[in-house]
Structure formats: structure tokens, C-alpha cells
């Protein structure tokens, strides 16, 4: 059933977020550190396990997961409508200049780090 897919993702999210919050508390931050990431790793591991054992999820269960993935872009559109865009563009020059420079700079660093990734990849294979 489709609901199983929703439940599996939800359970992974709870476990991951719990780990993230434990980590946050241990670091004295009181926030979630990487919870979404841990949850995603859990799902990846689950998929790898299923593939290895030759099993696969029921088509309908899979349908539940794909339904959530398909909701992702609409959720992002809704999220964009909640952003505090008004204050971002009216708070003055510093936020705009700093935000733009940081984003453009970060984007320009991507090719540099990609090169690094490729080099280490080669070394490992050599």
C-alpha cells in the first residue's frame, strides 16, 4: 500500500532527525545537526540492502515514495512564497551586496573543488 512508502520515509526521517538532535544536544547547540542527511543515508542504505538481497519494494509502496518525491518541487515553490523577500531587499545595501558576493563567489568555487574531487578519485584508482 502507498501509505507504507509514506511511513518508511517518515520513520527514516524520525530516526535521522533524532540522531541529528542528539548530536546537536551533545555539541551544546540545541538544534538539529544533519538530521535530514542521516535520514537520507538510512534510505540509501535500505535501498542498497534491498538490491543486494535481490528483493524490491512493492510497486504500490514505491508509489508512495515517488508521490512524496513528486511533491518536492511544489513544496519548494510554496517554501519560496514564505521567504522574507521584502526585508531582504529593503534592509539596505549590506545584505544585498554580501548575499550576492557570497553566492556568486561560492558558485565560482565549484569548478575548483570539482577538480580536487577528480584528482583524489584518480589517485584512489591508480
Amino acid at each position: 500500500m502507498e501509505i507504507f512508502g509514506l511511513g518508511i520515509i517518515g520513520a527514516c526521517m524520525f530516526i535521522g532527525s533524532f540522531i541529528g538532535r542528539l548530536l546537536g544536544a551533545a555539541l551544546g547547540l540545541g538544534s538539529d545537526v544533519g538530521g535530514v542527511g542521516f535520514a537520507m543515508v538510512l534510505i540509501v542504505v535500505l535501498c542498497a540492502y534491498l538490491e543486494k538481497t535481490g528483493k524490491s519494494l512493492n510497486k504500490k509502496t514505491e508509489g508512495g515514495i515517488q508521490f512524496l518525491s513528486a511533491l518536492y518541487i511544489p513544496v519548494v515553490v510554496a517554501m519560496s512564497m514564505n521567504q522574507n523577500v521584502y526585508s531582504a531587499v529593503t534592509e539596505g545595501v549590506i545584505p544585498i551586496v554580501a548575499g550576492v558576493v557570497a553566492t556568486v563567489g561560492s558558485l565560482l568555487l565549484i569548478p575548483l573543488l570539482s577538480k580536487l574531487a577528480k584528482d583524489t578519485d584518480k589517485e584512489q584508482n591508480a
Partner: protein, 251 residues
């Protein structure tokens, strides 16, 4: 009108689905007319940001259109809960090998991204006349993401107008990432899992990464999001401590 308002308020989430569907339908149709079908989600996000601007202007609130009662459901659909739930689901189908291949680069990107954004924030705030190290560090934190700014500011006891400034800087960064990423993704090689993970580490803001990659290629979302999820936590850890200590020593 009164009847409509009370209906829209009590069916908030359903109303949000209708609004998002309309925006996406208009955006994808427009993208189709331009023969740029792939730009559909990018256009939808831009329309949504304009809607958020209008909402903020009308209400003076902080949550875009969802501060208007009739559109309250947008806050639920686009809130942290649904965002994280749907992001997590995109991990289904991700290959372990791809993660391993970019694991190191992703981690390096996280550290470089945090330090780089912080430095940009500090330098620009300094150029604009700020001299207090605590205020500089707060603005630097805000440029990392709009969560790190207030956390740093609160830890260092900075006034609320500087904190507001730092939040605005973080919002600008995620908005720019949403708009700019699809335009430059091909050139900067954000078209494979490794590139997406590095992108996630450098930009870091969950909404910026989520929006930017969604508008570029939805299949890359899990890779970027997985790295970006560590950014705000790591930023909250490093900024009020090591980074603000270094700022203190320099200024």
C-alpha cells in the same frame, strides 16, 4: 467574501495546493511557449519569490504570503516539516557509490563554504563602516545562512537591528542561489552528483540549495541536500566560537 475567507482559512493546506498548482501551471506553460521546458520550475520559483515580496509588503510580516490569513496554508505546505519530508524521500534511488565518490569533496566544500561566506560578510560589513568584532561576526554568520546569524548574534549579545541585517543577508543568499543556479549550472558542472554535493556544501542554505537544484535538475536534489543539511549546524558550531575568536583577534 466573509464566507470565502472562513472557508479558505479552514481549508488552508488545500488552498495552498491550488495556489501552487496555478503558479506551476502558468510557469510551465510560459516556459513551454519560450521552448525552455526545463526552466519551468525556475520560473515558478521566481514567481513565488515575487508573491512572497508582495505578501511581505502588504503585511510587514516575516513569512511572505503566508502571513495573510487566507494563504496561511502555504506556510504549512512550504514549511520546514514538508520541506524535510519531501527532501528525505528524494534519497530513494540514490547510489552509494556516487556518495562515496564525492564524500571528501563534499566535506571540504562544507568547510570552505562556511569560512568563505563568513569572510565575505565580515569584509563587506567592515567596508560599510562596522567596526565592532561581535557585530562583524554576526553579519558574517548571517551570510552563511539566516539561522547562523541570529544564533551568533544572540551568543555575542549583539543588538537586534544588526541581527535583522544578518538575517536579511542570509535570505538574499538563498534567493540569489535559487535564481542564479539554473542559469550557470551547466557551465559550473553542477550537472552530476559530485558537482551537486560540492554545490550543497558551498551554498549551504537549505532553501537555497533545495530551490537552486530543483530548478536545475530534480534528480540532483538528494546529493546537494545531503551535504547542505550539515552546513547550518556546523556554522552554528564554528561561527560563535572559532570564527568570532579569530575576528576578535584581527579587529
Amino acid at each position: 467574501m466573509k464566507i470565502f475567507t472562513s472557508m479558505a482559512t479552514s481549508y488552508g493546506l488545500v488552498g495552498a495546493f491550488i495556489l501552487v498548482a496555478v503558479i506551476m501551471w502558468v510557469s510551465y506553460t510560459f516556459a513551454g511557449l519560450l521552448k525552455q521546458k526545463r526552466m519551468g520550475s525556475a520560473i515558478a520559483i521566481m514567481v513565488a519569490l515575487v508573491v512572497a515580496f508582495i505578501g511581505g509588503k502588504i503585511t510587514g510580516g516575516e513569512k511572505g504570503i503566508s502571513d495573510i490569513a487566507v494563504f496561511g496554508g502555504v506556510g504549512l505546505l512550504g514549511g520546514g516539516m514538508m520541506r524535510d519530508y519531501t527532501i528525505v524521500s528524494t534519497a530513494y534511488g540514490v547510489k552509494v557509490e556516487n556518495l562515496k565518490k564525492a564524500g571528501l569533496a563534499g566535506t571540504v566544500a562544507l568547510l570552505v563554504g562556511i569560512v568563505f561566506s563568513f569572510v565575505v560578510g565580515v569584509v563587506i560589513a567592515w567596508l560599510m563602516g562596522y567596526r565592532d568584532p561581535a557585530e562583524l561576526a554576526t553579519i558574517g554568520g548571517g551570510v552563511e545562512t539566516f539561522v547562523v546569524g541570529p544564533v551568533t548574534g544572540a551568543a555575542l549579545g549583539v543588538s537586534s537591528d544588526v541581527i535583522a541585517l544578518s538575517i536579511a543577508a542570509g535570505v538574499v543568499k538563498s534567493v540569489v542561489a535559487m535564481i542564479l543556479t539554473p542559469l550557470v549550472a551547466e557551465k559550473l558542472k553542477v550537472n552530476n552528483p559530485t558537482g551537486a554535493m560540492i554545490f550543497g556544501g558551498l551554498i549551504g542554505s537549505t532553501s537555497g540549495v533545495a530551490g537552486g537544484l530543483a530548478a536545475t535538475d530534480a534528480s540532483l536534489v538528494p546529493y546537494g541536500a545531503m551535504v547542505a543539511t550539515f552546513y547550518t549546524g556546523l556554522g552554528c558550531l564554528l561561527t560563535p566560537t572559532i570564527l568570532s575568536l579569530v575576528t576578535n583577534m584581527i579587529f
